[in-house]
Each structure stands twice: as structure tokens, then as C-alpha cells.
């Protein structure tokens, strides 16, 4: 077996019908339903629709030692189980930087955020602690810390396909050589946002979900988590552990059709399945069963059955959906079904599809009625999300004959990736909305026009912010019919995305050869708050369905896909300050793998009232900001940051093409940093990691002219950056110039996208380097280095076009 074939060596599930993978599989075989009454919180409006709640005592299972949201704890339990199953014990520490973790999540800690809003609106109490675990990244960071994972760590938020896309990303991380082992999975707890949200879309079946049934009337919501240990064949062989299955195929596509509804023709679903088959080198007839997305909504089941019939023709493989039993566990569902696919390879299958009775002639597809125990060689798993974010995976029996793996390479170092050209840049920033105006502002030391004083709505204090002008070009760029429906952050992103593609011949590539990957730390908290506030004030309220669809994080990337007609991979990454870099990695890998001709990649976050208030409460923001700070390392010993916002999007193509490039991306890498016992960053180890990652891409550390970091005035953070840049200097034998960008754009999760725009300006000579480097010195190669407060880090290396 090729060294870098991704294989599965361990699985874990926690959901309504069981608290380990084996018991969930047995429940599926027996047909035990997980559907029952909602007890987690009251819901006057939707409390009668059955849900698949986790009834086990989650805290007790965790041993009481885990601090986090319900969703975080579900993830922790699934990951712990998968590691034990794979014979990895409870630590990945021995893998160092070679062990990654990728989770898909939709709601994160919104259950806690709802309680915060409830306290505020009903009793005027402000329990800010309830917001601590709001972010989807919270589950990933919790697990990465608990199990000592220092390799590529990130969180995907592609709604209902998140768990499956995490597996696709894990496969790519293994195949590209970026990691030897990646824990991949998904998690989501029930919460009022999704219960009322799907309720407002009239998509909750009052009698319980009936996938593919003529009388189907929507989903039943569920909750849970699942994780799989994805490992290179070489690593599994070295450890001498049994291989449960191979992850042979994955295909990721986008409908670019509608915010929530699938394209009824099922073209995106078809292309995802066909892509997975192509990657696995298999014909449709090789598939032994399809574990369908099968949500039981009228729309999904029509689109999916059309796609299945188109792909498989007249001899359909057995099809099943687990959602009649487990409910729709959203971000977890793709990962739970992936584990069940692996179980079917282990035990034989397929199991019967729960709660199917009446054939729907429009679907022309009857799911499996009786459980079988036939050997399964190749099994397909579908997961489709809001915004037409489609993922299809193929798992294969370890011994199953199949064509040679398409994975190139071997050994344990990452494959050198060809340079990627940056051919377009779109910006919405506090400094302006045209790339040239931003470059001009970056060149002068005193860019302060963007500073504004606004009121944080909850505490009485006022906060100084870097805010974008309200006139950022949405009226000109976006049609009124779409504009009226979207949130400010989505409009900022669309304006920047259109800016990045302006004048480029994208249509010549074909829409399925354009992928979109967007990073966002917080997504649209404004939409989440607007939807949840009325529910928390009045349990019987009727909140806006439009706000619900806007609250889903992947509205960002999927709206971009609709605006520019991009039907390739569509990924939204929500992993704090390294969200943008993970998205950039995802986009550049789609190009490197030959799946896309263009990758539209960016980062966006906005200032919102609750963020300002919580940040003020937690002491993040500076009350006495000196208005002027130099562009060069702004290490003026301050304590706090200035909040900011923006959307910056790049259009990327393979390097060396015909289009003129602004600059090239030479290296992107992400992971987690190590700290010593005092919590200080292990700077020498960090510098070693950076040097190695650059060397893997053929760059020697001394070639770097400038290091740009996310210094923001918070001493604890800035000291880490200073220590690592100093350590880099010791490795290179000379000290590096160190600059920042957050004094220009403010502190926000995806500000490093703005930093990358500045780097592009510097190497393309659109930004004068005089304020940063010695007068007359050239700036051909910029290293961006980003840290998050919760332990993740990333580097990006931007080089002058054509530089060897």
C-alpha cells in the first residue's frame, strides 16, 4: 500500500442511541430509535416535534474535568474514544507536529450564548461567562489541548456537511504529507437556534423524520459527535495497528444555487459523488451501498435521489439514511455516518434504512428495507449542507482490490507545492475599499482616519474602533434583490470577492473548476443574535427564517459562490485567528491537487455589539488608544487592542500562468504551538517549525526580508511574537525586521488576510517598504506569522512574482 494512503484506524461516536461506535452500530442493526421528546430546554413552539437527544449524562462521561459547551464535551468524548480505539491512548504527543485535528461544527457553543441572551433580556443580568465557548473552534481547541495535538488543527463550518468535509480535509492533509495522523470528525448539540431555525423553515417533521418516504415532511433534529483516526498507511504499519478501512475517495462541490434549498436537479450532489469515485479510481458498480444524506426533507431527497439515479443508472446500489433513527445531527452527521460506513466494512451490511414505509414514485428509489450482512468492499457516504455545500466520501475494505492509489509521494515530509499566483485582490477595510487606497494608506505611518468612537451597547463605556465605512460599495456591486436579504458581513465579503475576480476570465475555466474557501472567526453573530433574541424574550416568538439562514457560518462562502458562480469546493473555516490561513491552505490545495483552476480565498469578520461588550468586559479593548503608531513593529508596551473589522479576498491560480500575478504564495502551514510550564511559547521550537516548513517549499530562512505578525498591543500576545521573531533571527544568523498590520485594520479574527494584502503590496512594490526596512532595501519575500489566543498558529510566505 502506498505510504500516504489515508486509512482509518479508530472510531468514536456519542449520540442519542449509544455512547460508543459499536453500540450505535448495534442500535442501527436492531432499529432502536433515538427519537423522543425535547428535554434540554423548553420550546413552546416546537417542543412537540421529536428530537434525537443525547440522554446520557455528558458531564459524568467526561469525568467532570472538561470545561466547555455541551457540543465541546460531545466532541471530547468522541475523540477520546477514537484515540483509544486506534491504540493511541490519550495522547498524540509523540507525533509532535505530525498529528492534526479537524472538526466540523455548525452551532458551537450557541446553547450557552442563548442562556446569556435569556439572562440579559428577561432579567437584565449579564453572564458573560456563558459566551466563553461560543465559537465552533472551542471544541477543536479543547480536544487538541486535551490530547496533545500539535499538527494542523482547524474547524470547518459547512453546516450539515461539516463532519464529512473534515474527513475530506484530513485525507488531503495525509495525502499531501502535512500530517501523519489526523483526528477528523464533527459535533453539534441541540440548541434553540437550530430547533427554531428549522422550525421557521417549516422543515421539522411533527411525527419524526422519514427519509425517502412518500409522506416525508422534514427532518428530526439530533445531536452528537463522532471522530475517526485518519492515518497514513505508513504510520499505521509502523505502529502495527489494524486498518479498519481506507479513505479512498472524496469529492467536494457547491450548488451555487440557493441559501438553503438544494438544486433540485442534484447536479452538485452528482458531481460530488462522481468526484469521489474518480479520486478512488472506481466505477459506480463497485459501490456496495450508499449511506445517503437522506434528511427526509422534500427537497433533499428529490435532489439526492436524482443524483444517485444519474450516477448509478438502472442498477442502483442499496441506499440508506440513518436519520430516521439518529435524527439530523448537523455538523456531526457526516462523521457519524462515516463511522457507520467503516462499521459496515467491519461487520457486513448494509443495515436497513429506518422509518421507511411508502415508496415515492417521484424519487424512484426505495431504501434498504431489511438488514443484510454481506461483505462490503466500497461504501459511499453523502453529506450535503446549506448553501449547496456537498461532500461525498468513499471508504474501502483494507483488502479490497482496486486501482493503485492516485496519491503521489511518500516519506514523512510534505510534498513541495508548486507556487500559487495571486491574480486578484478585493478589500473592504477601515482604510478604504480599493486595493490601491489600502496600499497607499499602508505606506504612510499615520493612517488614523479609520478610528472611530462608538458605544458598546451593554456596558456604558465607549470603545474606539477601526470600523469600515458603511459605504463600502455594496449598493454598486450587489443587486438589490440579494442585498436586502444579507447581513453586513456577507455584503462586505461579496464586495471583496467580486473585487478579487474583477477583470479575470473565470468563466473560461468552467464554474466547477472554481473553488471558494472563506475564513471567519465569528461569522454573522449579528444574524444569530437577531434570530435568537426574540426566542429568548418570548418562547413562542416567530423569528425570521432569513436571519436563521444568514446565521449559519457557511452563508459566507456559499453566498460568494452564488455571486460569482463557483461550483467547486466550498469551504467556510471558523478557527479563531488562524481561520484565514486554514482557508488559504484549503484553497491552495484544491489548486495543487488539480481540482480547481481558480481559488477564491479570503477572511471576513465584523464589529458587532455583543463582541464589543464581551471584549470590554474581558479587558481586550484599549480605552486610551494613542492615535498614532508607526508601521514598524508597533511594540509600544500597551496592554490592549483596538477592535476592527474587514473582508479581504484573493483570487488564486496555478503559478506561472498567463495572467499577470500581483505576487505568489510560496508556503502555507498551520498547527499548534507548544508552551513551557509557565505558559510561555517555546520560541526555539516554533522557529524550528517555521524553518522546516519553509525548507519543505524550497525557501531558506535568511531569504525572508520581513516578518509581519498579528501584534495588536496586548502584551501577552505581542511578547510571544517578539520571542519567536528573535528566535528566527538566531536561526538565520541575523535579526529580522518585524512589522504589524493591526494598528491599521484593528483586531479581528481574520485580520491576517489584511496582513497578507499588505505583504502583497510590499513585494509588488505597491507599498513602500521604507517605514519597515532600511531605506532602499528591497522587500521580495514576506513571512506572515499568526497566533491565536487558544494555541493555534500559522505561517504564510508571500514572494515577488517570478522570484526563484
Amino acid at each position: 500500500m502506498n505510504d500516504r494512503v489515508p486509512v482509518i484506524t479508530g472510531t468514536g461516536i456519542l449520540c442519542s442511541v449509544g455512547d460508543d461506535s459499536e453500540s450505535v452500530w448495534q442500535a442501527l442493526i436492531r432499529g432502536d430509535s433515538g427519537l423522543g421528546p425535547l428535554t434540554l430546554f423548553p420550546s413552546a413552539r416546537h417542543g412537540l416535534a421529536p428530537v434525537a437527544e443525547v440522554t446520557a449524562d455528558v458531564d459524568q462521561l467526561c469525568g467532570g474535568a472538561v470545561r466547555g459547551s455541551r457540543s465541546d464535551k460531545l466532541a471530547y468524548l468522541a475523540v477520546r474514544q477514537a484515540l483509544a480505539d486506534a491504540g493511541l491512548g490519550s495522547s498524540l504527543g509523540s507525533f509532535g507536529n505530525r498529528a492534526g485535528l479537524v472538526l466540523g461544527a455548525t452551532v458551537g457553543g450557541v446553547l450557552g450564548s442563548e442562556e446569556f441572551l435569556g439572562g440579559l433580556l428577561r432579567r437584565n443580568v449579564r453572564r458573560y461567562g456563558k459566551l466563553r465557548h461560543h465559537e465552533c473552534a472551542s471544541a477543536t481547541d479543547l480536544c487538541a489541548k486535551a490530547f496533545h495535538c500539535f499538527g494542523p488543527t482547524t474547524t470547518l463550518s459547512t453546516a450539515c456537511s461539516g463532519g464529512a468535509m473534515a474527513l475530506a480535509l484530513a485525507g488531503r492533509l495525509i495525502e499531501s504529507g502535512a500530517a501523519d495522523v489526523v483526528i477528523a470528525g464533527g459535533c453539534d448539540s441541540l440548541c434553540r437556534l437550530t430547533v427554531n431555525g428549522f422550525g421557521s423553515l417549516l422543515l421539522l417533521d411533527p411525527t419524526g423524520c422519514r427519509p425517502f418516504d412518500l409522506k416525508r415532511a422534514g427532518i428530526s433534529l439530533g445531536e452528537g459527535a463522532a471522530a475517526l483516526v485518519v492515518e497514513s498507511a505508513r504510520s499505521a504499519a509502523r505502529r502495527g495497528v489494524p486498518v479498519l478501512a481506507r479513505l479512498t475517495g472524496w469529492g467536494c462541490t457547491c450548488d451555487a444555487f440557493h441559501a438553503t434549498a438544494p438544486d433540485s436537479e442534484g447536479d452538485g450532489a452528482y458531481r460530488a459523488m462522481a468526484g469521489a469515485l474518480r479520486r478512488a479510481g472506481l466505477e459506480p458498480a463497485a459501490i456496495d451501498h450508499v449511506n445517503a444524506h437522506g434528511t427526509g426533507t422534500p427537497g433533499n431527497d428529490v435532489a439526492e435521489s436524482r443524483a444517485i439515479r444519474r450516477l448509478f443508472g438502472s442498477t442502483l446500489p442499496p441506499v440508506l439514511s440513518t436519520k430516521g433513527l439518529l435524527g439530523h445531527t448537523l455538523g456531526a452527521s457526516g462523521a457519524i455516518d462515516a463511522v457507520l460506513c467503516v462499521k459496515s466494512i467491519e461487520h457486513g451490511g448494509p443495515p436497513a434504512s429506518p422509518r421507511f414505509e411508502n415508496l415515492d414514485p417521484e424519487l424512484g428509489l426505495a431504501p434498504v428495507r431489511t438488514t443484510r450482512a454481506e461483505p462490503q468492499s466500497h461504501v459511499m457516504n453523502n453529506a450535503f449542507g446549506f448553501g449547496g455545500n456537498n461532500v461525498s466520501l468513499i471508504f474501502s475494505r483494507p483488502s479490497a482490490p482496486g486501482p493503485a492509489s492516485p496519491c503521489p509521494g511518500g516519506g514523512s515530509a510534505p510534498t513541495r507545492t508548486a507556487r500559487i499566483s495571486i491574480v486578484g485582490l478585493g478589500v473592504v477595510s477601515p482604510l478604504g475599499n480599493a486595493a490601491d487606497s489600502v496600499f497607499a494608506a499602508c505606506s504612510c505611518a499615520g493612517a488614523t482616519a479609520c478610528l472611530r468612537e462608538i458605544s458598546a451597547p451593554l456596558p456604558a463605556d465607549r470603545v474606539l474602533v477601526h470600523a469600515c465605512s458603511d459605504e463600502f460599495g455594496a449598493r454598486e456591486a450587489i443587486a438589490a434583490g440579494r442585498r436586502r436579504k444579507l447581513e453586513r458581513i456577507q455584503l462586505m465579503t461579496l464586495v471583496a470577492a467580486k473585487g478579487s475576480c474583477r477583470g479575470l476570465p473565470l468563466e473560461k475555466a468552467g464554474s466547477d473548476r472554481i473553488c471558494v474557501a472563506m475564513g471567519t472567526g465569528l461569522g454573522s453573530t449579528a444574524a444569530t443574535a437577531a434570530f435568537v433574541e426574540p426566542v429568548m424574550a418570548d418562547d413562542n416568538a416567530v423569528p425570521s427564517p432569513q436571519k436563521f439562514t444568514n446565521a449559519v457560518h457557511n452563508a459566507l462562502a456559499s453566498q460568494v459562490a452564488m455571486e460569482i458562480t463557483a461550483r467547486g469546493l466550498n469551504s467556510t473555516v471558523t478557527h479563531r485567528e488562524t481561520s484565514f490561513e486554514s482557508a488559504l491552505w484549503h484553497g491552495t490545495q484544491e489548486i495543487a491537487a488539480g481540482n480547481s483552476e481558480y481559488a477564491v480565498v479570503g477572511g471576513a469578520d465584523e464589529l458587532t455589539p455583543y463582541l464589543l461588550s464581551a471584549g470590554a468586559r474581558w479587558g481586550w479593548w484599549d480605552e486610551n488608544t494613542p492615535p498614532l503608531r508607526p508601521l514598524s513593529a508597533n511594540l509600544s508596551r500597551r496592554q490592549r487592542a483596538i477592535p476592527g473589522e474587514g473582508a479581504v479576498v484573493f483570487c488564486l491560480t496555478p503559478g506561472g500562468g498567463a495572467l499577470p500575478a500581483l505576487a505568489e504564495v510560496a508556503c502555507v502551514a498551520f498547527g499548534r504551538f507548544a508552551t513551557d510550564e509557565q505558559g510561555r511559547i517555546e520560541a526555539e521550537r516554533e522557529a524550528g517549525w517555521i524553518e522546516d516548513e519553509l525548507a519543505n517549499q524550497g525557501i531558506a530562512l535568511p531569504q525572508i526580508d520581513l516578518v509581519l505578525t498579528g501584534t495588536n498591543g496586548q502584551l501577552a500576545l505581542d511578547d510571544k511574537y517578539v520571542a519567536v521573531v528573535a528566535a528566527l533571527g538566531r536561526k538565520a544568523g541575523r535579526s529580522f525586521r518585524h512589522g504589524g498590520y493591526k494598528h491599521l485594520c484593528g483586531e479581528y479574527h481574520t485580520a491576517s488576510a489584511f496582513g497578507m494584502a499588505m505583504a502583497v503590496g510590499l513585494v509588488s512594490q505597491s507599498v513602500s517598504p521604507d517605514a519597515l526596512l532600511s531605506p532602499g532595501a528591497a522587500c521580495r519575500m514576506v513571512l506572515l506569522y499568526t497566533l491565536s489566543g487558544e494555541g493555534t498558529r500559522a505561517i504564510t510566505c508571500i514572494v515577488q512574482t517570478g522570484l526563484p
Binding site: S200, L201, L202, H258, A259, T260, A261, A480, G481, R484, K485, V542, P543, S544, P545, Q546, T549
Partner: protein, 87 residues
């Protein structure tokens, strides 16, 4: 309220519910299709109108099949509201 009055009342409420900037009640033809052509509304707008019916008229819609006829035009919606509104 007469049907004509109901139509005018609905136009104002539709504009508010869907944030139809640049659209005035006079722009809406009461007999034109509400969806696809005309105002260019989509399925989520239809759900927003379901919310509007509940909030403004206390009419609860549980199944979008019902709305196929009711949302054909503003006049059809006015008739639907008149029929279903509790006194």
C-alpha cells in the same frame, strides 16, 4: 375591511417584512405573480411572509402547500387573509 383595503394593507406589510427598499405600494400589481417574476421573491421570502401572516394576522401556516395558492398574487393573499382571519 374590503378586499381592496386588505390589498393595500398587505402591500405595506410585505414591503416591511421583506425589506423591499425602492419598492412602493404603487409599484406592486395586485394581480401579478408574487414569486419568480414580479418582485423576484424566493422560497425564504415565502417563509418570511408566513411569519408576517402569523405576526400581523395571527394566521398559522404549517405547510407550504397551502401557500402555493395563497401566495399567487397580493389579491390571492388578501382573499386568503380574509378567509382565515379570526374575528
Amino acid at each position: 375591511m374590503s378586499i381592496e383595503e386588505q390589498i393595500e394593507d398587505l402591500k405595506v406589510k410585505i414591503i416591511a417584512a421583506l425589506d423591499l427598499e425602492d419598492v412602493t405600494p404603487g409599484d406592486i400589481d395586485p394581480d401579478a405573480p408574487l414569486f419568480q417574476e414580479g418582485l423576484g421573491l424566493d422560497s425564504i421570502d415565502a417563509l418570511e411572509l408566513v411569519v408576517m401572516l402569523e405576526k400581523e394576522y395571527k394566521i398559522s401556516v404549517k405547510d407550504m402547500e397551502v401557500t402555493k395558492k395563497a401566495f399567487a398574487s397580493v389579491r390571492a393573499l388578501a382573499l386568503f387573509v380574509t378567509e382565515h382571519q379570526h374575528p
